[in-house]
């Protein structure tokens, strides 16, 4: 199959899926499995049409098609413009081969740099997510169950306000704090706690701190929402039955908030592993995050197919990981989006 056919396929695929669902809906209605007023009857023709168009525009043009094109591109070779559509424009696994072996043709040696960066990124993302959870859970619990309404509003404002600042600027702020001549080193030196400046950035402290901070809100809010809907009487009931505080969290709050926890962790994990600004700004010379490598494929190597393949690998691995963890926690995807 040549690439032009591939494009047609990519364009048709979502339409086919939509048509399939429409057909199922139609059959259900015909056979009386679904009754009651239909979509247009419920919303009126005007709003119904608008919803239909807006949602399909958003979903197709903004989400589905770019992703599909990226996936399609991942399986094509890098060719000069003149050669596109030519005899060499066929589907290939060479971009994936490059990821594994550092060469589009040979499989003699592993691509150690990229593979290491990849696994380091995944593991570090897991750690950042876990750290983020540990950081946010007590705060979310405090806000959701203990604090008065006015205090909660203040805390929310304090949490949100820093995010009005651009993500890149926030990352640079960490440089200002953590750099060798940064605020923290000056303080520590001034207090006589250290003799020479500590290279926090080189030690990746900056990277992890920046990454944790970048998506803090996406952990706080699902946790807060989940814990907030827990009836405080359940906590009291557990206490009354003799449970110490840590058992109340283990037996009551966390099981109840599981969907929120899963939702927050999923968001933070996916975004952390795909973060670009923080690693670019805060990564030390020796830290290799995977996303800057993907970025380089596109804009330094001008190898879009390879960049697509790398992005695809990252996405796929993360999705697989998240699904596996959800499976272990006996949660369905539907539950975490409640």
């Amino acid at each position: 199959m040549r690439s032009s056919d591939g494009h047609i396929f990519v364009l048709l695929l979502p339409l086919l899926v939509i048509a399939g669902f429409a057909l199922i809906a139609l059959v259900d209605r015909r056979q009386g499995r679904v009754t009651g007023p239909g979509f247009f009857a419920r919303n009126g023709v005007g709003i119904g049409l608008y919803l239909l168009l807006a949602v399909s525009f958003w979903a197709l043009l903004v989400i589905v098609l770019p992703q599909l094109f990226m996936v399609e591109m991942a399986f094509r070779p890098k060719l000069p413009p003149a050669a596109t559509g030519g005899p060499r424009d066929v589907y290939t696994l060479e971009n994936f081969r490059y990821f594994l072996y550092g060469s589009t043709t040979s499989t003699a040696a592993w691509n150690v740099t990229h593979l290491t960066a990849f696994w380091k990124t995944i593991v570090a993302s897991i750690l950042v997510t876990a750290g983020n959870f540990l950081l946010c859970y007590p705060l979310a619990f405090y806000m959701a169950q203990m604090a008065k309404a006015a205090r909660v509003r203040l805390l929310l404002l304090l949490l949100i306000a820093p995010y009005w600042v651009n993500e890149v600027l926030r990352a640079f702020a960490f440089r200002v704090i953590l750099g060798t001549s940064g605020v923290l080193n000056k303080l520590l030196l001034g207090a006589g706690l250290i003799d020479a400046p500590v290279d926090f950035l080189g030690l990746d402290v900056g990277l992890y701190a920046g990454l944790s901070y970048a998506y803090l809100l996406l952990m706080i809010f699902p946790l807060y929402n989940a814990i907030e809907s827990l009836d405080g009487r359940l906590i009291e009931a557990a206490r009354d039955l003799g449970a110490p505080w840590w058992r109340i969290h283990k037996d009551i709050v966390i099981p109840f908030a599981k969907p929120g926890i899963a939702s927050g962790c999923t968001l933070v994990f996916m975004l952390t592993s795909g973060a670009l600004a923080a690693p670019l700004v805060l990564g030390g010379p020796r830290s290799l995050w995977f996303t800057p490598i993907v970025y380089d494929r596109f804009y330094q190597a001008f190898n879009w197919p390879q960049g697509s393949a790398y992005a695809f690998i990252l996405l796929l691995t993360c999705v697989a990981f998240v699904l596996a963890v959800l499976r272990l926690g006996k949660l369905s995807l539907g539950e975490i989006t409640r």
């Binding site: 009487r233 206490r239 009354d240 039955l241 109840f256």
Partner: protein, 355 residues
């Protein structure tokens, strides 16, 4: 008898608001004790103070003779049944009942046996595997009771546990609760704003109003010999006739009222000249009286036949009076607008200060 719970000069304030004021009370071990009072009078606050969720502003709570200051809710020998039950939705029925034992580190085998036993006590023997939301209201109620009994509390605290149930189920559960209490023999402290419930179930009742305990006594005392006007009118129906005391003698007082001079018992020995109210129960107001004392005439405004009795709404000198006629009274009830002669014995009426 030993004291299960003692409240000593207990005061609870929320900011400037006093929810419980200077409560003094000794509840005996094995007693079925009720707090009765209108909404917002501080019943739940007292219960939560006993169970350790609220600290007394002043005074003390003692359980089994021990001061509970500094003892956390999870370390008190009490178990609370919440107004909303607060069953754990993330656990099965059996796990709910066994939770208190689990946090105490009771081994699984022993725990399972205990849970089975308790589920049988509350007649839910075969429901242990179900989820909480698969149960009916009455069944959930019983799960909550079993869960609280599982930790073998010295005192079981129940906060209007039957208020969410329909009338039939409520009556059934009343008997059930009373039976359970007799079987396990522990102290029950029961909150309700339903006087019928308090009267039928309790050994003793504390009637509360606006944070104060107005009277403590068994049902008969509270009903027949109310200490205050509030108790007289909150527990059961009553007729209140205002007036001024003109004479006192032999524990009785004569009251100058719009209906003439009426006599009643004077339990607080109010002196002559005091503005007071005379309270007399509708069933004590007899038509066509034979007694010479306390006679009055009224106009019948309405009557409601209820099978076993008939309610008469009357009016005399601008005061509304309610009269209850028993089913034994075979006479046809007087028609609306008719005049009726009423009377009551002085021993059946109480003269109390204006509330």
């Amino acid at each position: 008898m030993t004291e299960a719970v003692e409240l000593a000069n207990l005061t609870v304030r929320f900011g400037d608001f006093t929810a419980v004021e200077n409560a003094n009370l000794r509840i005996q071990a094995g007693e079925f004790f009720s707090f009765l009072g209108p909404s917002g009078c501080g019943k739940t606050t007292i219960l939560r103070t006993i169970s350790g969720f609220i600290d007394p502003t002043e005074g003390a709570v003692r359980i089994g003779g021990q001061d509970m200051r500094g003892v956390g809710a999870n370390q008190r020998p009490t178990a609370l049944i919440f107004q909303s039950l607060a069953l754990f939705p993330m656990m099965s029925v059996a796990d709910n009942v066994g939770y208190g034992l689990r946090v105490r580190g009771v081994a699984k085998a022993l725990r399972d046996r205990k849970v089975d036993e308790l589920l049988n006590v509350v007649a839910l023997g075969d429901q242990g595997g179900k989820q909480v939301d698969e149960l009916s209201g009455g069944q959930r109620q019983r799960v909550a009771i079993a869960r609280a009994l599982a930790v073998e509390p010295q005192v079981l605290l129940l906060d209007e546990p039957l208020s969410a149930l329909d009338l039939k189920l409520r009556q059934h559960m009343r008997n059930e609760l009373r039976a359970i209490q007799r079987r396990v023999g522990i102290t029950f402290i029961y909150i309700t704003h339903d006087q019928g419930e308090a009267l039928t179930m309790s050994d003793r009742i504390a009637v509360m109003n606006q944070g104060r305990i107005e009277q403590v006594g068994d049902g008969r005392t509270v009903y027949d010999a109310p200490d205050t006007g509030f108790v007289a009118s909150f527990v059961g129906e009553t007729n209140a006739i205002p007036g001024r005391i003109t004479a006192t003698a032999d524990g009785e007082a004569a009251l100058e009222t719009p209906l003439g001079v009426l006599r009643g018992r004077n339990p607080q020995t109010l002196p002559v000249g005091t503005a007071a109210q005379l309270y007399v129960r509708p069933e004590m107001l007899l038509p066509d009286p034979t007694t010479p004392e306390n006679r009055l005439s009224a106009t019948v405004e309405d009557h409601a036949y209820e099978g076993n009795l008939t309610h008469l709404a009357c009016r005399a000198a601008g005061l509304r009076l309610t009269v209850l006629l028993g089913a034994r009274d075979r006479r046809a009830p007087p028609a609306s607008g008719a005049s009726i002669a009423l009377g009551f014995a002085a021993g059946d009426a109480r003269v109390l200060p204006v509330a």
